[in-house]
């Protein structure tokens, strides 16, 4: 499998058969401090093909791509583009050679219009060429009519839209667009450079299955008809299997395998990616596949008891009139794990904010243990016993400039008070050391500043804090995002334990495998509304996928009958 001629003899002339290789990266090393992100990585990308780069979070795939587009400089190794050795100082250099990337997190500015976003960061074309040429170009513009450049950009956008079926109005402000359309804008932005080499970093993380399919068919067209080269970075096996021609698998900064997609099978890829056998009963590869019955865990008896968390007809409208939550109702029993499945951007954030007291409901109510909790009132949910592992720990999870032990006391500082109304630092320190051990947090000690911890350990601190206060309800919003495999397992186990201890757990996740592994019950959120529900006993993957894509129950039933 690993038969690629990686360290070919140094040769100043370009081999004729090498011209098919759009990019050859060999011996790429990149260290950040003590962390080795890329270790002797070799990879080849070819024109006319989609190359999948598969790996867990933190496997080094994003770093590798950032090196390729010039965002990071490699510590060692060589990059050859079309046979010529290149050294990139910044993304502009790479872009000149036709390398362009669609980023994992949106690179769009919501306040700007679509066409403005498309030209943003473009240093070669249209608009004006340089700040210092402003007077000259301003004069030209004045003569030719100010709008001429805009017109050219608009024209390009509509050309690209028409050619690939990516419909979008260039004059809409991006903040008014739904997520799926934003992803189109990202791709248009990338295609406008007419890239020879395109890189897509987790392009479908915010898309529904149907939208992903559309995007991939566009990409297939782009690659095959126009002989471009495409690298697809993903950790989703089915996506890689469905969309690529070749696959490179990375693990812990190293390439573990190169192979052609036709030779690959899901278990094989999963094993190579994780580095050990993984149980495939709930394999990632099955998602979107056939209907599968899953043996349930112990059933939660909910008859007669009050639900620990009850959200009833919650409706919130933002200032632009969009519904963030649209009469959303759900209940979680004591000891139950209810998972909210859905594509990113369908109200999950609003749910997080609601239970973090950051959002006030326009109508509807929330009850914890049968008591109504006022929404949008500082601290109301913490007081009612709702713990939150928020989806963005920088936002409402922890404070980077405080110490680890202070972070453990953020929500209940009174717990640190002993006598004379003073906070007892020694007691805080001792308790923190205890929690550091219990939750296996790697840190130099309770006084370590939060920012000095790795993301996974910061997340553990948040978990430790929320669980140590014995909540009645725990909202875990994307609890494993950005964590490595071991940490993910640890987190899922902790959530399962929490439920066993009688905590009502509401898990919000975009990762289906996570949901399938934990949930007693799954509800599907779409456009701020709960559109479907299924218990663990009758999970129907097909139905789940369709609900997430916005196809209503009514439309589904004839499909599943056939």
């Amino acid at each position: 499998m690993n038969s690629l001629p990686v360290n070919s003899v140094a040769n100043s002339t370009v081999d004729s058969h090498n011209t098919a290789d759009a990019v050859t990266m060999s011996g790429i090393c990149k260290k950040f401090g003590q962390v080795v992100a890329c270790d002797e990585v070799d990879i080849k990308l070819q024109h006319g093909k989609i190359h999948g780069i598969l790996g867990e979070n933190g496997a080094g795939k994003s770093t590798l791509m950032k090196i390729l587009i010039g965002l990071h400089a490699p510590d060692a190794g060589e990059i050859r583009v079309n046979g010529t050795t290149q050294r990139f100082r910044d993304p502009g250099d790479a872009r000149k050679l036709g390398i362009s990337m669609v980023h994992q997190h949106f690179s769009l500015v919501p306040a700007l219009k679509v066409w403005e976003n498309v030209v943003l960061g473009d240093h070669q074309k249209v608009y004006l060429s340089s700040f210092w040429k402003v007077p000259q170009r301003a004069l030209e513009n004045a003569l030719a009519g100010f709008r001429s450049n805009e017109k050219r950009t608009r024209q390009q956008i509509s050309e690209i839209s028409a050619r690939y079926g990516l419909n979008v109005d260039p004059d809409t402000r991006v903040r008014d667009l739904p997520v799926g359309v934003r992803q189109r804008v990202e791709i248009i932005k990338c295609l406008r450079y007419d890239p020879k080499i395109m890189i897509l970093d987790e392009p479908t993380s915010v898309l529904s299955p149907a939208e992903s399919e559309r995007i991939f068919s566009v990409l297939r067209q782009v690659v095959e008809e126009e002989n471009r080269c495409l690298a697809l970075v993903s950790h989703k096996l089915n996506e890689i299997l469905a969309a690529t021609d070749d696959i490179t698998i990375m693990r812990q900064g190293k390439v573990v395998e190169h192979l052609a997609t036709s030779e690959a099978t899901a278990p094989m890829l999963a094993r190579a990616m994780v580095g050990r056998e993984v149980s495939l009963t709930l394999s990632l590869a099955d998602i979107g596949g056939n209907t599968k019955k899953i043996s349930g865990q112990e059933k939660i008896d909910s008859t007669g008891t009050k639900p620990a968390l009850r959200i009833h007809n919650a409706t919130v409208t933002d200032k632009n009139g969009h519904h963030l939550l649209d009469s959303l109702s759900l209940e979680v029993q004591k000891g139950e794990i209810v998972a909210v499945a859905g594509v990113e951007g369908n109200g999950q954030t609003a749910l997080d904010h609601l239970l973090s007291s950051l959002l006030k409901l326009d109508s509807g109510y929330v009850e914890v243990d049968g008591e109504e909790v006022p929404t949008g009132v500082p601290g109301a949910f913490v007081k009612a016993g709702v713990g939150v592992i928020s989806e963005d720990r920088h936002d409402t999870g922890c404070i980077m400039d405080m110490s680890l032990s202070e972070n453990l006391y953020l929500s209940h500082p009174k717990d640190a008070v002993s006598g004379y109304a003073m906070m007892n630092r020694t007691a805080m320190s001792n308790k923190s050391t205890e929690l550091i051990n219990d939750y296996q947090i790697t840190a130099s000690g309770p006084d370590a500043p939060m920012w000095s911890l790795s993301g996974g350990n910061q997340q553990r601190v948040v978990l430790a804090r929320e669980l140590s206060h014995k909540p009645k309800v725990l909202l875990a919003s994307q609890p494993t995002r950005g964590l490595d495999v071991g940490a993910v397992e640890y987190f899922l186990e902790q959530l399962r334990q929490a439920a066993k201890n009688g905590i009502a757990v509401l898990l919000v996740s975009h990762e289906l495998e996570e949901i399938l592994e934990l949930a007693h019950r799954i509800v599907v959120i779409y456009n701020g509304k709960i559109v479907g529900e299924m218990s663990r006993q009758d999970i129907d993957m097909q139905r789940l996928g369709m609900l997430m894509g916005g196809i209503s129950e009514a439309e589904i039933s004839p499909v599943s009958d056939t």
Partner: protein, 312 residues
């Protein structure tokens, strides 16, 4: 009582000197506000414009003192503003020091330095010539105000539209707006965020320096360390008042300039008004105006937020 008030307002408003005075004062604000507007759109609430205004004023006096040329004096003013901007920009958007701390320190520092240099050099200065634009100056009421001023006044007619032009019609301006709204996204798109933010402050420095030069060579004619007198802050308020649009900011400048002029012309027309009330009038009106308008405005999403790649 109320009748008196209205007749006074009427008298002042029908007096040509109210307008020419108002526009003169408004133009100082306009120079500062135009640059500050760009800096704020890039994400910096740049309180050192006060220092830039003062430094510009002093340096233009120095420039005139050395060369006896108003034009060179104005150039000196712009350079001083730029110099202060370089300190502010690099401290806050290269070394990530807090922008308000840097700005405040600069304000205090420049006040001291300019005062000291002024008392030891004592630059001799004068005011620029009055240039009346033919015909246009004959427009009743506002003609002299808009077209009958000392010549550096007319620079504003270039500077303000130029600011609008570079922000809305250039790629640089687009990038500046992007870094003020969503620096992370701009960064990923390949926009050098900190560089753009620094450059936006440089623009603010230059225009504020010009404002200072105009204040000195176009209006006051002699340097005192009280010459800026909080006008930089009022210009910041004008930007907020205008809801971060240039048109709104200029409207704010005009309003604040007219109020200021109002208080200056009122006693001349024979009205006895409490002088302290009059002196604080511009500030009170500014606070009031901003308070009434501010919450309706949309401020740049990343205003005052420092950018560090990877921290967010």
């Amino acid at each position: 009582m109320l009748g008196d008030f209205f007749s006074a307002v009427g008298d002042v408003l029908s007096n040509e000197s109210t307008y020419s005075g108002g526009f003169r004062l408004a133009v100082v604000l306009a120079f500062v506000a135009a640059g500050e507007w760009i800096a704020e759109r890039a994400g910096t609430l740049n309180i050192s414009v006060e220092a830039m205004l003062l430094g510009g004023a002093f340096n233009s006096a120095l420039g005139y003192h050395l060369t006896e040329s108003v034009a060179i004096g104005i150039l000196f003013g712009a350079i001083a503003g730029l110099g202060i901007a370089i300190v502010q920009a690099n401290m806050s958007h290269r070394l990530s020091a807090d922008q308000f701390v840097v700005g405040l320190t600069l304000n205090i520092l420049i006040l001291g330095v300019a005062g000291f240099l002024n008392s030891s050099i004592r630059p001799s200065t004068t005011r620029a010539h009055i240039f009346e634009v033919p015909w246009l100056v004959d427009i009743p009421l506002v003609g002299p105000a808009l077209f009958g001023q000392r010549w550096p006044f007319y620079l504003a007619y270039l500077v303000v539209p130029a600011c609008a032009l570079i922000l809305y019609r250039t790629r640089w301006g687009l990038e500046v707006r992007a870094v003020g709204e969503n620096p992370q996204a701009a960064d990923v798109s390949g926009v050098p965020v900190l560089t753009r933010r620094r450059q936006a402050i440089y623009v603010a420095g230059i225009t504020s320096g010009l404002g200072g030069a105009y204040l000195l060579l176009g209006q006051v004619g002699r340097f005192e360390s009280t010459i800026a007198g909080g006008q930089g802050f009022i210009a910041i308020a004008a930007v907020i008042f205008g809801g971060w649009t240039l048109r709104g900011a200029m409207l704010g400048c005009l309003l604040f300039g007219l109020v200021n002029s109002f208080r200056l012309t009122l006693p001349g027309l024979g009205y006895q008004v409490n002088s302290e009330l009059l002196s604080s009038l511009p500030f009170l009106v500014t606070i009031l105006a901003v308070a009434v308008i501010a919450s309706r405005a949309r401020q740049p999403a990343a205003l005052t937020q420092p950018f560090v790649r990877g921290l967010n």
